[in-house]
């Protein structure tokens, strides 16, 4: 079952796109996601896909072209990183508010400045309120699998929202690792064809997309977007179940790793979750009750479910690979503590900002977090909840 391969995260994303064979791909190269459109353009040249590949002159145009294509009734994809996403920013909001289920492969990288091409999550966190579904991926395998599920989720009639699949720049995008691919025909059958209900090129239903929307209706339209994001949870769960039946690979809103009786818990996203698993295994062998929550679905945020999962913990550390520079905590930390508070769960929780600009995060450092949590257990009020991990003194 499946095809045993070894691929980088970028290769995995490009192959997922090849198997999906979208109508339109519009992209502009930027490190570390450049290889995705590069590989994909060779698939186009070799006739392995029949996609219209638009080599645009900027990321703003890349997203604009995807918007145009989706509005016309086509299935569109793109890929970018960091400043490329920043340049798309205006169109990112247009895409979601026009309810266009575009799929973007985001290879996470630090947003300048000063210039840094390496991994952190500042690009993704910059668009966390833009109305896009955001799925995070620990490995090349998860980046591939999340992309295969993306259109089924985004294009669902109860959702109709754009979706981005995130993976860590260089750490997974440029590392060759084992992966299990699905056969082309199985992907084709799983993803299915795109038949939008309303689209510009439908001569039988002339419509306008994106006209002026002032005081009378914008509020209602935003509420509809919010409701679609809530509805996405059910669809993501259903599509993930169907994917599991097909591949045996289980995907939930978040992965609970050795959480059964866990007292000290780390919450994090993307590749660091893999490093954390190795530490959890090591500490469990010594009889320590530690666990991991790896958030896959960051938008919509699974607030109730995460609060429930953390209910039994005695201390929690939330790891943010982006500094919100607000003096109060990173984005994931704020979401997690807000989820716990509103669900009346009170577990002492601390935040670590880590891995900024590609700073390597080691098992030793993750170990130190679990060790720090020993002194957080039992505290009514944690001193200094906003910390750095791996920052040089």
């Amino acid at each position: 079952m499946g095809i045993r391969e070894r691929l980088s995260g970028n290769e995995a994303a490009a192959i997922a796109m090849k198997q999906i064979n979208p109508d339109v791909v519009a992209a502009f190269p930027i490190t570390p996601s450049t290889e995705i459109p590069q590989y994909f353009s060779t698939f186009v040249s070799n006739g392995q896909v029949d996609t219209e590949f638009v080599a645009v002159e900027s990321e703003h145009s890349a997203m604009s072209a995807c918007i145009g294509a989706e509005a016309a009734g086509a299935r569109a994809m793109t890929a970018t990183s960091a400043n490329g996403l920043s340049l798309m920013w205006e169109m990112i909001y247009i895409a979601s508010s026009l309810r266009l289920p575009i799929v973007l492969s985001l290879v996470n990288r630090a947003v300048s400045g000063p210039l840094n091409i390496h991994n952190d999550h500042s690009d993704a966190m910059g668009v966390r309120d833009a109305g896009w579904i955001m799925l995070f991926s620990e490995s090349n395998q998860e980046a591939y699998d999340n992309l295969l599920m993306a259109h089924r989720i985004a294009e669902h009639k109860d959702v109709l929202l754009p979706l981005m699949v995130c993976q860590d720049g260089f750490i997974t995008s440029h590392s060759i690792e084992n992966i299990e691919l699905l056969e082309d025909d199985k992907v084709k059958a799983f993803v299915g064809e795109y038949h939008p209900e309303h689209y510009l090129l439908n001569e039988k239903e002339p419509i306008a997309i994106g006209p002026l929307d002032l005081q009378a209706y914008l509020f209602e339209h935003k509420a509809q977007q919010g409701n679609a994001m809530k509805a996405a949870k059910k669809v993501i769960a259903e599509v993930s179940k169907e994917f599991e039946a097909l591949t045996g690979r289980k995907y939930e809103f978040f992965e609970s790793y050795k959480m059964e009786d866990a007292e000290r818990v780390i919450v994090c996203m993307n590749s660091t979750a893999g490093t954390t698993k190795a530490v959890v295994d090591e500490l469990r062998e010594k009889g320590e009750k530690v666990g991991l929550i790896k958030v896959r679905m960051f938008r919509p945020f699974p607030a109730e479910e995460i609060a429930e999962a953390l209910k039994g913990a005695k201390a929690v550390a939330v790891l943010d690979k982006s500094d919100s520079l607000n003096g109060a905590g990173g984005a994931l930390f704020e979401d997690v503590v807000s989820a716990m508070y509103t669900n009346n769960i009170h577990v002492p929780t601390v935040n670590y900002v880590y891995g900024i600009g590609g700073r390597d995060t080691t098992t030793k450092e993750i170990n130190s977090v679990y060790s720090d949590l020993n002194s957080v257990v039992g505290n009514d009020k944690v001193e200094n909840p906003y910390r750095y991990l791996g920052l040089r003194g």
């Binding site: 070894r6 091409i117 390496h118 620990e138 490995s139 860590d168 260089f170 750490i171 997974t172 440029h174 590392s175 060759i176 690792e177 084992n178 590749s271 660091t272 893999g274 490093t275 698993k277 190795a278 390597d360 995060t361 080691t362 098992t363 030793k364």
Partner: protein, 192 residues
Amino acid sequence: MSNLIEIRWHGRGGQGAKTASLLLADAAFNTGKYIQGFPEYGPERMGAPITAYNRISDTPITVHSNIYEPDYVVVVDDTLLDCVDVTAGLKPEGAIIINSTKDGEELRKSLKGYTGNVYKIDARKVSMETLGKYFPNTPMLAAVVKVSGIMTDEAFLEDMIGSFKHKFAKKPEVIDGNMKALEMALKEVTKV
């Protein structure tokens, strides 16, 4: 994960250390292993010191960090011994493999008291004799396979024919030379 083998490559930009690490990952993958092969990306340019890594295991690998306590270190260019701490964290029960013509005692002296096994190979000689040009990465790849015992010589050579056919699809004339370089390097690498 006691079966996990971690390897760190030190080379200079342009010498193919990254390519060698990816070829090693490929070869190990083809023998059924779980693998990682990744370079440490920096401001690379021709001649600048670069680092690449391999993890090879019988069980899935989840760690995503650089390697700080390698089992093996491969030094593709011995001029790096003066400017890079190549034995940093290297396990004493592991080994370092150096491309060099220096004698054993001299090499030991430049390794800051490293007590483990030291191997050397004259990759320039191997490369010049088999390829007629200096590509140190091919001999170093064979040397690390030999020293680490990740796979048998036969399995390695058999797999590499396939890899080279794929890699050099547009210049098949270099495949023979590269295979000879591997075969010669498997014999030439010596413990000092």
